[in-house]
Subunit: 429 residues, 2 copies
């Protein structure tokens, strides 16, 4: 433990390290020295003086022994290491290589948190729009937002996409997103797709009066993404879906901070299963789908919910929500529960996969008013069709906002669409 009163020049990584008998202090010291100056005790005193500012430090070690509480079944330690920010540049790649490069391979060790130095933090502007900016674009402030996904996109032509887009729009969605597996293709190239969907959005607006953001999938060779984004914007793109983990956090940061790319970014969690699900390895969900996404500039972040078809434990969802909405990431807020107003705008949380109207009360209970309810099969699978599928969700959102259970709401308001959804999928509580 080093007695440093001011950690503001350090980025602090928290690791959970499992080992039945390790000397955790030795392990921590190995990381603090090994991942910074390389060696310390054998340095001459004069050299130590010049190297001091580059040396990593142990902030804390919390050892947990099996049996100390019912949850602890294996010996582990939460180890916090402070890395001087003078050692790395202001890219997330540099930070991740420093705090979880070689160390990621060294035993049962998971990166479970990270706090940023003042200098590092200042290099990021976070979401350009954020939750409130997205609401402003849509002109919707008084309710959770509602998003839908195309039923299928691969192999469909522009007319097919337009038809799906229109039906979803008429059902009352605020946002529509591409499938993350739709890449540049001759049937629906990005500029044509954007144009036709924008036209469908305008057509639906005649009926619904609603604005719609269409998150088109930004794909292609990394070095051409900026050009591709601008081409899509020229064609009328209003938002981008982006597979952040396939391209790296820096690319999201560079794109989202480009003044000429002035639309919201929606981060897809594809490949996140490489990082968070293992207890012993990788990077926890609150970091990989929470802090790093928000820091890198995602206005909207998708992740598996605890309720649907692809699931993540509820406490991990809540940690993501905390990171996206309320948490301050500065190293000043190292202690648990310390929440200042984050200098970054908030990112919208989107618990996803297998969502049907009967899950809306749970989503609002866990995420509150500032959430995007996101559905695919729960819209298209509706017995009365796609438009009704959307309407059932909007009814479920209204009911939940007013604290009325879905069945009562459907009955007393004569909502055939919601009733049919309840009959099909039930209501979870």
């Amino acid at each position: 433990m080093t007695n440093i009163s001011n950690w503001s020049d350090y980025c602090v990584a928290t690791y959970r390290c499992y080992d039945a008998k390790a000397d955790f202090h030795k392990k921590a010291l190995g990381i603090a020295v090994g991942m910074t100056v390389g060696s310390w005790t054998d340095l001459p005193e004069t050299k130590k003086q010049s190297m001091q500012k580059h040396l990593g430090h142990i902030v804390s070690i919390e050892v947990h022994e099996p049996g100390e509480s019912p949850e602890v079944t294996e010996r582990y330690a939460d180890i916090r290491i402070a890395y001087p920010d003078v050692n790395f540049t202001s890219e997330l790649s540099a930070l991740l290589i420093t705090i979880f490069g070689k160390v990621s391979m060294d035993g049962k060790l998971k990166l479970i948190d990270v706090h940023f130095s003042e200098r590092f933090y200042q290099a990021f502007q976070g979401p350009k729009f954020g939750l409130d900016g997205v609401r402003d674009l849509l002109g919707v402030h008084d309710r959770p937002l509602f998003m839908s996904i195309f039923k299928s996109v691969i192999g469909h032509d522009l007319a097919g996409l337009r038809e799906q887009f229109l039906a979803m729009s008429l059902g009352g969605v605020d946002l529509i997103k591409d499938d993350e597996i739709l890449f540049e293709n001759p049937l629906t190239p990005i500029d044509k797709r954007v144009a036709i969907c924008r036209e469908a959005a305008e057509e639906a607006k005649q009926t619904t009066g609603q604005n719609i953001l269409y998150a088109v999938n930004l794909t292609g060779p990394t070095f051409k993404l900026r050009e591709q984004a601008k081409k899509a914007i020229d064609a009328g793109a209003t938002a981008f879906l982006f597979n952040v983990l396939a391209y790296g956090f820096d690319v999201l940061h560079e794109l989202s901070s480009d003044p000429e790319i002035n639309v919201p970014f929606m981060a897809h969690p594809a490949m996140a299963g490489c990082f968070y699900p293992s207890q012993y390895h990788g990077i926890s969900a609150n970091v990989v789908l929470g802090k790093l996404m928000r820091l890198a500039g995602a206005d909207i972040v998708l992740f598996p919910s605890p309720y649907g078809s692809v699931v993540m434990p509820r406490e991990e969802n809540m940690a993501i929500k905390h990171a996206l909405l309320t948490q301050d990431f500065a190293v000043d807020y190292l202690s648990e529960g310390a929440d200042a107003t984050n200098k970054l705008k908030r990112s919208f949380a989107v618990p996803s996969a297998g969502i049907h109207p009967g899950l809306v009360p749970l989503i609002l209970r866990d995420f509150g008013h500032d959430v995007i309810v996101n559905a695919g099969g729960g819209i298209f699978g509706h017995p009365m069709g796609t438009v009704a599928g959307g309407q059932a969700f909007r009814q479920a959102i209204s009911a939940s906002q007013n604290g009325i259970d879905l069945q009562s709401y459907a009955s007393s308001n004569g909502c055939a669409e919601l009733q049919s959804a309840i009959d099909t999928w039930g209501v979870r509580s």
Copy 2:
């Protein structure tokens, strides 16, 4: 199981899926349809005709029940799914999002192999130099190569790096690499670092007669990497170290295939611990540090050895070696053991971390003649100094090449350096 006689238009992913009671056929079908056309059985017949070419297929399902052999302690299945290559573009990001995007989060499921369609495969030239090209650059064909790492770099100035570089060079190394955590910094900016190390290499050559490749760490914002690489080459860079997993495989591919970036790439495994160590999640080492690195153009690939301080099981090392040196990745070679001559050049394997001269016989036993012996502490920690530390390794390599055990070789050739290394670290067999 689909009866398709020709898989050459498909990329085939192999997943190992653990589940005590799942219907693995249903699971496989869910992936094959869900990650391609979205839905199938409810499509009208005419639509099926146009969608057929976009549909994913189950190639095989191999279920293993606990107890069927001593190694199988849990129920699992190896599931092979064929993805039509018409569905995605020729980037590794697009392939990975398709085969391991959403699926990565769906239960205990690890991507353990991938085979490429003809079209996809043809889009990659692989290593520009490869193992033989690196040997040609160095003019060394008759022995394993020898590489060393700076003892420490952060906080050192150019004179300090030069001194380390010279000592390593005089010890007989072929390659010297930067630390992966050395980023752009005012003390040793990339162009000055390249120039001073090149000068040291020339100076050492007067004594040793050896060429040296210096792999300088290519870092910075993603969209500026190409420019940064060219700046380093203008300053005399002869090779790049690259943190592939922080930037994505596509970036390595785009850089390594750039005709103006005509130097070998050395892939560092930093962050690989997010991918391979978990039994249940992520991507196995042969894919993430083997196939994908070689396909994306890494001439040299580092990974933790089974012998040293940060370890990987031996069978995983051997699978990486197979991928880097002998395996054909085309979908035609789906069946186990089928090895044609790969159209790609071979990549050099570099088992790393905690290597001392006493481990050289093991390295050569496992990797043969075409390997790079890579050391850091095993050179600097030598009781007789850095130059002697290098010499001890060269002596150990000579001994092992000639099938002579290290102790006999040291004794009969009067190798004080090797003897001292043996006394310090011992010999493993």
